[in-house]
Amino acid sequence: MIPSDHFTRFYNEVFKFLESQGEAELEAYFLAISKNQEKHILELIQTKGLAGMEEYWSHIKVEENCDMDIDRYDDHIELRMNVCPSLSKVMDNDAEPMGRYCDHCAGWIGPILDKTGYHLVYDVISRTEPRCVMRVFKDAAKAREAEKDVKLLMGWPGHKV
Protein backbone atom coordinates (compact mmCIF):
# COMPACT_ATOMS: atom_id res chain seq x y z
CA MET A 1 0.00 0.00 0.00
CA ILE A 2 1.21 3.43 -0.87
CA PRO A 3 -0.13 5.32 2.19
CA SER A 4 -2.70 8.02 1.47
CA ASP A 5 -0.21 10.35 3.18
CA HIS A 6 2.17 9.66 0.29
CA PHE A 7 -0.32 9.93 -2.57
CA THR A 8 1.02 13.33 -3.59
CA ARG A 9 4.54 11.95 -4.03
CA PHE A 10 3.11 9.12 -6.16
CA TYR A 11 1.03 11.70 -8.08
CA ASN A 12 4.27 13.62 -8.75
CA GLU A 13 5.82 10.53 -10.37
CA VAL A 14 2.70 10.08 -12.51
CA PHE A 15 2.87 13.72 -13.66
CA LYS A 16 6.52 13.37 -14.64
CA PHE A 17 5.74 10.29 -16.72
CA LEU A 18 2.74 11.90 -18.42
CA GLU A 19 4.61 15.13 -19.14
CA SER A 20 7.18 13.00 -20.96
CA GLN A 21 4.34 11.58 -23.09
CA GLY A 22 3.04 15.02 -24.13
CA GLU A 23 0.67 17.75 -23.03
CA ALA A 24 -2.43 15.95 -24.33
CA GLU A 25 -1.78 12.99 -22.05
CA LEU A 26 -1.38 15.22 -19.01
CA GLU A 27 -4.67 16.97 -19.82
CA ALA A 28 -6.44 13.63 -20.35
CA TYR A 29 -5.25 12.59 -16.90
CA PHE A 30 -6.47 15.81 -15.29
CA LEU A 31 -9.87 15.10 -16.83
CA ALA A 32 -9.83 11.50 -15.52
CA ILE A 33 -9.04 12.76 -12.01
CA SER A 34 -11.72 15.43 -12.40
CA LYS A 35 -14.25 12.74 -13.30
CA ASN A 36 -13.13 10.75 -10.25
CA GLN A 37 -13.61 13.81 -8.03
CA GLU A 38 -17.13 14.42 -9.27
CA LYS A 39 -18.40 11.77 -6.88
CA HIS A 40 -17.13 13.88 -3.98
CA ILE A 41 -18.13 17.40 -5.00
CA LEU A 42 -20.42 17.65 -8.06
CA GLU A 43 -23.73 17.10 -6.28
CA LEU A 44 -22.73 19.48 -3.48
CA ILE A 45 -22.16 22.26 -6.03
CA GLN A 46 -25.26 21.44 -8.04
CA THR A 47 -27.52 21.44 -4.98
CA LYS A 48 -25.90 24.00 -2.67
CA GLY A 49 -23.75 26.21 -4.92
CA LEU A 50 -21.13 28.24 -3.08
CA ALA A 51 -22.28 26.77 0.26
CA GLY A 52 -21.63 23.29 -1.17
CA MET A 53 -18.12 24.35 -2.16
CA GLU A 54 -17.54 25.69 1.35
CA GLU A 55 -18.76 22.38 2.79
CA TYR A 56 -16.45 20.33 0.55
CA TRP A 57 -13.31 22.40 1.11
CA SER A 58 -13.94 22.74 4.84
CA HIS A 59 -13.86 18.93 4.96
CA ILE A 60 -10.69 18.86 2.82
CA LYS A 61 -9.06 21.50 5.03
CA VAL A 62 -9.33 19.13 7.98
CA GLU A 63 -8.62 15.80 6.26
CA GLU A 64 -5.66 17.05 4.25
CA ASN A 65 -4.25 19.10 7.14
CA CYS A 66 -4.34 22.37 5.18
CA ASP A 67 -3.45 25.76 6.57
CA MET A 68 -6.25 27.43 4.64
CA ASP A 69 -8.78 30.24 5.08
CA ILE A 70 -12.16 30.01 3.43
CA ASP A 71 -14.45 33.04 3.01
CA ARG A 72 -17.83 32.80 1.33
CA TYR A 73 -19.58 35.90 0.02
CA ASP A 74 -22.88 36.37 -1.82
CA ASP A 75 -21.27 36.36 -5.23
CA HIS A 76 -18.12 34.28 -4.77
CA ILE A 77 -16.02 32.08 -2.51
CA GLU A 78 -12.34 32.61 -1.78
CA LEU A 79 -9.88 29.96 -0.58
CA ARG A 80 -6.49 31.16 0.56
CA MET A 81 -4.12 28.25 0.91
CA ASN A 82 -1.45 29.57 3.27
CA VAL A 83 0.52 26.32 3.38
CA CYS A 84 -0.40 23.71 0.79
CA PRO A 85 0.34 20.22 2.18
CA SER A 86 0.34 18.73 -1.29
CA LEU A 87 3.15 20.82 -2.80
CA SER A 88 4.93 20.89 0.57
CA LYS A 89 5.22 17.09 0.51
CA VAL A 90 6.28 17.04 -3.13
CA MET A 91 9.06 19.50 -2.34
CA ASP A 92 10.04 17.56 0.79
CA ASN A 93 10.80 14.54 -1.32
CA ASP A 94 13.79 12.38 -2.20
CA ALA A 95 12.42 12.25 -5.76
CA GLU A 96 12.58 15.28 -8.06
CA PRO A 97 9.46 17.50 -7.97
CA MET A 98 7.63 17.94 -11.26
CA GLY A 99 8.01 21.58 -12.23
CA ARG A 100 4.31 22.07 -13.00
CA TYR A 101 2.94 20.08 -10.06
CA CYS A 102 0.53 22.89 -9.13
CA ASP A 103 -1.23 22.66 -12.51
CA HIS A 104 -3.18 19.58 -11.44
CA CYS A 105 -5.34 21.48 -8.97
CA ALA A 106 -7.02 23.80 -11.48
CA GLY A 107 -6.74 20.84 -13.87
CA TRP A 108 -9.39 18.88 -12.00
CA ILE A 109 -11.39 21.67 -10.34
CA GLY A 110 -11.80 23.82 -13.47
CA PRO A 111 -13.67 21.21 -15.56
CA ILE A 112 -16.13 20.55 -12.70
CA LEU A 113 -16.85 24.25 -12.27
CA ASP A 114 -17.30 24.60 -16.04
CA LYS A 115 -19.97 21.89 -15.85
CA THR A 116 -21.78 23.67 -13.05
CA GLY A 117 -21.74 27.17 -14.54
CA TYR A 118 -19.32 28.75 -12.07
CA HIS A 119 -16.18 30.68 -12.99
CA LEU A 120 -12.79 29.80 -11.52
CA VAL A 121 -9.94 32.25 -11.00
CA TYR A 122 -6.93 30.25 -9.82
CA ASP A 123 -3.87 32.21 -8.72
CA VAL A 124 -1.02 29.76 -8.11
CA ILE A 125 1.23 32.74 -7.19
CA SER A 126 4.39 30.67 -7.81
CA ARG A 127 4.88 27.02 -8.69
CA THR A 128 7.63 26.73 -6.11
CA GLU A 129 5.76 28.23 -3.16
CA PRO A 130 3.20 26.05 -1.39
CA ARG A 131 0.43 28.64 -1.33
CA CYS A 132 -2.27 29.84 -3.68
CA VAL A 133 -5.57 31.72 -3.88
CA MET A 134 -8.64 30.26 -5.52
CA ARG A 135 -11.77 32.26 -6.17
CA VAL A 136 -15.00 30.98 -7.68
CA PHE A 137 -17.57 33.45 -9.01
CA LYS A 138 -21.18 33.14 -10.02
CA ASP A 139 -20.71 35.90 -12.59
CA ALA A 140 -18.28 35.58 -15.52
CA ALA A 141 -17.61 39.33 -15.74
CA LYS A 142 -16.58 39.47 -12.07
CA ALA A 143 -14.25 36.53 -12.64
CA ARG A 144 -12.60 38.23 -15.62
CA GLU A 145 -12.16 41.37 -13.52
CA ALA A 146 -10.58 39.33 -10.69
CA GLU A 147 -8.10 37.78 -13.13
CA LYS A 148 -6.43 41.18 -13.45
CA ASP A 149 -5.10 40.96 -9.87
CA VAL A 150 -3.45 37.55 -9.97
CA LYS A 151 0.28 36.77 -9.96
CA LEU A 152 0.21 33.47 -11.87
CA LEU A 153 -3.13 32.61 -13.43
CA MET A 154 -3.75 28.93 -14.00
CA GLY A 155 -5.77 27.41 -16.84
CA TRP A 156 -7.24 23.93 -17.22
CA PRO A 157 -8.36 21.58 -20.01
CA GLY A 158 -10.74 23.54 -22.21
CA HIS A 159 -9.77 26.86 -20.65
CA LYS A 160 -6.35 28.07 -21.70
CA VAL A 161 -4.97 31.32 -20.28
Partner: protein
Protein backbone atom coordinates in the same frame (compact mmCIF):
# COMPACT_ATOMS: atom_id res chain seq x y z
CA UNK B 1 19.45 5.05 8.62
CA UNK B 2 17.64 2.76 10.97
CA UNK B 3 14.29 3.37 12.63
CA UNK B 4 13.98 7.09 11.88
CA UNK B 5 11.37 7.63 9.19
CA UNK B 6 12.18 9.90 6.24
CA UNK B 7 8.47 10.72 5.90
CA UNK B 8 6.59 10.53 9.21
CA UNK B 9 3.24 12.18 8.55
CA UNK B 10 0.89 13.24 11.30
CA UNK B 11 -2.58 14.77 11.58
CA UNK B 12 -5.68 13.59 9.75
CA UNK B 13 -5.77 10.92 7.05
CA UNK B 14 -7.49 11.52 3.68
CA UNK B 15 -8.44 8.04 2.51
CA UNK B 16 -10.09 9.30 -0.69
CA UNK B 17 -6.58 9.57 -2.12
CA UNK B 18 -6.74 5.78 -2.52
CA UNK B 19 -9.63 6.32 -4.92
CA UNK B 20 -7.45 8.64 -6.99
CA UNK B 21 -4.70 6.00 -6.95
CA UNK B 22 -7.19 3.45 -8.29
CA UNK B 23 -8.29 5.85 -11.06
CA UNK B 24 -4.64 6.52 -11.89
CA UNK B 25 -3.77 2.84 -12.18
CA UNK B 26 -6.65 2.22 -14.59
CA UNK B 27 -5.80 5.35 -16.59
CA UNK B 28 -2.11 4.54 -17.03
CA UNK B 29 -2.67 0.86 -17.86
CA UNK B 30 -5.47 1.62 -20.33
CA UNK B 31 -3.35 4.13 -22.25
CA UNK B 32 0.21 2.92 -21.80
CA UNK B 33 0.10 -0.69 -20.62
CA UNK B 34 0.97 -2.39 -17.37
CA UNK B 35 4.72 -1.99 -17.96
CA UNK B 36 4.41 1.80 -17.76
CA UNK B 37 2.52 1.53 -14.49
CA UNK B 38 5.12 -0.88 -13.12
CA UNK B 39 7.89 1.57 -14.03
CA UNK B 40 6.14 4.38 -12.14
CA UNK B 41 5.83 2.16 -9.06
CA UNK B 42 9.50 1.27 -9.49
CA UNK B 43 10.37 4.97 -9.31
CA UNK B 44 8.24 5.31 -6.18
CA UNK B 45 10.17 2.43 -4.58
CA UNK B 46 13.64 3.60 -5.60
CA UNK B 47 13.30 7.40 -5.66
CA UNK B 48 10.47 8.50 -3.35
CA UNK B 49 11.45 5.83 -0.81
CA UNK B 50 15.16 6.26 -1.45
CA UNK B 51 15.90 6.34 2.26
CA UNK B 52 14.25 2.95 2.92
CA UNK B 53 15.79 1.55 -0.28
CA UNK B 54 19.27 2.67 0.74
CA UNK B 55 18.81 1.18 4.20
CA UNK B 56 17.83 -2.15 2.64
CA UNK B 57 20.82 -2.03 0.31
CA UNK B 58 22.94 -1.53 3.44
CA UNK B 59 21.26 -4.58 5.01
CA UNK B 60 19.07 -2.62 7.46
CA UNK B 61 15.34 -3.41 7.62
CA UNK B 62 14.47 -1.23 10.62
CA UNK B 63 13.12 1.79 8.73
CA UNK B 64 10.97 -0.46 6.53
CA UNK B 65 9.42 -2.07 9.59
CA UNK B 66 8.84 1.31 11.23
CA UNK B 67 7.31 2.59 7.97
CA UNK B 68 4.87 -0.33 7.97
CA UNK B 69 3.98 0.21 11.64
CA UNK B 70 3.51 3.95 11.26
CA UNK B 71 1.33 3.95 8.15
CA UNK B 72 -0.65 0.74 8.62
CA UNK B 73 -1.54 2.03 12.09
CA UNK B 74 -2.42 5.51 10.78
CA UNK B 75 -4.77 3.95 8.25
CA UNK B 76 -6.32 1.64 10.87
CA UNK B 77 -5.45 -1.54 9.00
CA UNK B 78 -5.82 -4.94 10.66
CA UNK B 79 -2.25 -6.21 10.47
CA UNK B 80 0.68 -7.63 12.35
CA UNK B 81 4.39 -7.84 11.85
CA UNK B 82 6.39 -10.89 12.82
CA UNK B 83 10.11 -10.41 13.02
CA UNK B 84 11.89 -13.75 12.75
CA UNK B 85 15.53 -14.64 12.56
CA UNK B 86 15.52 -15.22 8.81
CA UNK B 87 12.55 -13.21 7.61
CA UNK B 88 10.09 -10.48 8.48
CA UNK B 89 6.42 -11.09 7.71
CA UNK B 90 3.77 -8.40 7.39
CA UNK B 91 0.32 -9.95 7.43
CA UNK B 92 -2.47 -7.61 6.36
CA UNK B 93 -5.84 -9.07 7.22
CA UNK B 94 -7.80 -5.94 6.28
CA UNK B 95 -6.25 -3.31 4.03
CA UNK B 96 -8.04 0.00 4.59
CA UNK B 97 -6.99 1.28 1.16
CA UNK B 98 -8.53 -1.62 -0.76
CA UNK B 99 -11.75 -1.58 1.26
CA UNK B 100 -12.09 2.20 0.98
CA UNK B 101 -11.79 1.98 -2.81
CA UNK B 102 -14.29 -0.89 -2.84
CA UNK B 103 -16.74 1.39 -1.02
CA UNK B 104 -16.11 4.21 -3.50
CA UNK B 105 -16.21 2.33 -6.80
CA UNK B 106 -17.45 -1.20 -6.13
CA UNK B 107 -14.56 -3.22 -7.48
CA UNK B 108 -11.00 -1.92 -7.21
CA UNK B 109 -8.75 -2.23 -10.26
CA UNK B 110 -7.39 -5.77 -10.71
CA UNK B 111 -3.99 -4.05 -10.61
CA UNK B 112 -4.68 -2.10 -7.40
CA UNK B 113 -2.31 -4.24 -5.32
CA UNK B 114 0.49 -3.81 -7.89
CA UNK B 115 1.31 -0.64 -5.95
CA UNK B 116 2.46 -2.91 -3.13
CA UNK B 117 4.01 -5.71 -5.18
CA UNK B 118 6.01 -3.52 -7.57
CA UNK B 119 7.01 -0.91 -5.00
CA UNK B 120 8.26 -3.69 -2.71
CA UNK B 121 10.32 -5.17 -5.55
CA UNK B 122 11.90 -1.77 -6.21
CA UNK B 123 12.66 -1.22 -2.52
CA UNK B 124 14.65 -4.43 -2.45
CA UNK B 125 16.43 -3.90 -5.79
CA UNK B 126 20.18 -4.30 -5.40
CA UNK B 127 19.81 -5.22 -1.72
CA UNK B 128 20.61 -8.49 0.05
CA UNK B 129 16.86 -8.98 0.49
CA UNK B 130 14.03 -10.28 -1.66
CA UNK B 131 10.32 -9.63 -1.25
CA UNK B 132 7.55 -12.13 -1.66
CA UNK B 133 4.17 -10.41 -1.75
CA UNK B 134 1.13 -12.67 -1.91
CA UNK B 135 -2.45 -11.46 -2.23
CA UNK B 136 -4.35 -13.73 0.14
CA UNK B 137 -7.85 -12.41 -0.42
CA UNK B 138 -9.85 -9.23 -1.12
CA UNK B 139 -7.94 -6.50 0.67
CA UNK B 140 -5.58 -8.94 2.33
CA UNK B 141 -1.98 -9.88 1.70
CA UNK B 142 1.20 -11.35 3.12
CA UNK B 143 4.47 -9.52 2.56
CA UNK B 144 7.67 -11.36 3.38
CA UNK B 145 11.15 -9.91 3.21
CA UNK B 146 14.05 -12.30 3.63
CA UNK B 147 17.71 -12.50 2.74
CA UNK B 148 18.33 -13.81 -0.76
Amino acid sequence: MGEKLRYAEEGEVHLDFHGATNTTIDFIIDRFGVEAMDEIFRKVGRDVYRSIHEDLVAGDTRQLVEHWRHFFTREDCDYDIEIGRDEIVLTVRRCTAWHHVARLVGTPSPHFCDQTIRTNEALAEGSPFAFETTITGPGACRQVIRRR
